[in-house]
Symmetry: D2
Subunit: 104 residues, 4 copies
């Protein structure tokens, strides 16, 4: 697997934070809260939709755009959290899939 | 940017779900809930730690392993959600970083 | 224990929803999402604060007001969820405290 | 409105925490994380259910019991958070309902 995408996005997000002197805010504890906060905004996009209304065929372009940016927000803080903990997300995903394969 | 990592992980996660006939459960609404549920487990790993205790230098190997697998769980459902909505996460992240750059 | 507070708040919240014909949106599934979404907004109020900055002695009146209204939002949806499932929150809390007492 | 229920539950939860010397863990920041973590467990109870399956008429006694205890967990940490911030939840709920009445 090519590591470029995760590493490149991680580097861009770190550079953005560093340029604003946000390192002191980016403790793992705080970043886990940011992931949870953004996940809350993501689930809120779907809370009053039926499962049918939540599908790609039913969402309006405006709804899909809002959802896309909430997914991006969760991803950004997840990448930042993994970065400050020196964790490799693709390797972790593969490890977790293997655990799930042995379970289900 | 090389698209291989996200596409390859997405394909593996889809194959895992398809092999278990889980497509019917994987509506965008349900997957947004799974992201939120896993983000809740992630934040719970950190809730009683001080910010100092949450850093890489302070976490035990067991704590770091648990956190790694929670990050993987959030990532897995985020990739699956983007997949069923035909969204490109790396492109969404870049788009959101640009929005943030114009804001902050 | 006097049941009036929970019952009275629950009735007011139900009347508010009924007056707007929101019953169809208020499935237990959807309300659990609303609780999670509001909990995400609550945690976001605290994400960049240190533990010291998060205390009553340190919060500004504006911060405390914002936090108060987020707590209210979580409470409103939690009461609504318990209502549609015909669950008694005070009794459930007492039951859970007893379980915790036997554990810790 | 009678204040007894909220005050009585709050006092019981505080006594439980004090008896275990948990005050140092119960900063507002940490308690907001606990609310979010428990809300994540609550939403996870519903994530693979359809809206119909999530209703009182369809849930099994075991499912309903699990949901009840997750609601209790969210409520316990919400009461504890309000306690350490000296906030009155019933008053906050009434205030928020009035704000909502002026909005919708």
């Amino acid at each position: 697997m090519n590591q470029n995408e995760f590493a490149e996005l991680t580097a861009r997000i770190k550079a953005f934070a560093d340029a604003r002197n946000w390192e002191k805010f980016h403790t793992p504890k705080n970043l886990s809260m940011a992931v949870a906060g953004e996940a809350g905004e993501l689930v809120a996009e779907f809370q009053w939709l039926t499962s049918e209304e939540s599908t790609l065929a039913s969402l309006s372009p405006e709804q899909l755009q809002a959802i896309k940016l909430e997914i991006a927000d969760v991803q950004i803080y997840l990448l930042r959290l993994a970065d400050v903990l020196n964790l490799d997300i693709p390797a972790a995903v593969i490890e977790k899939i293997k655990i799930n394969e042995s379970r289900f």
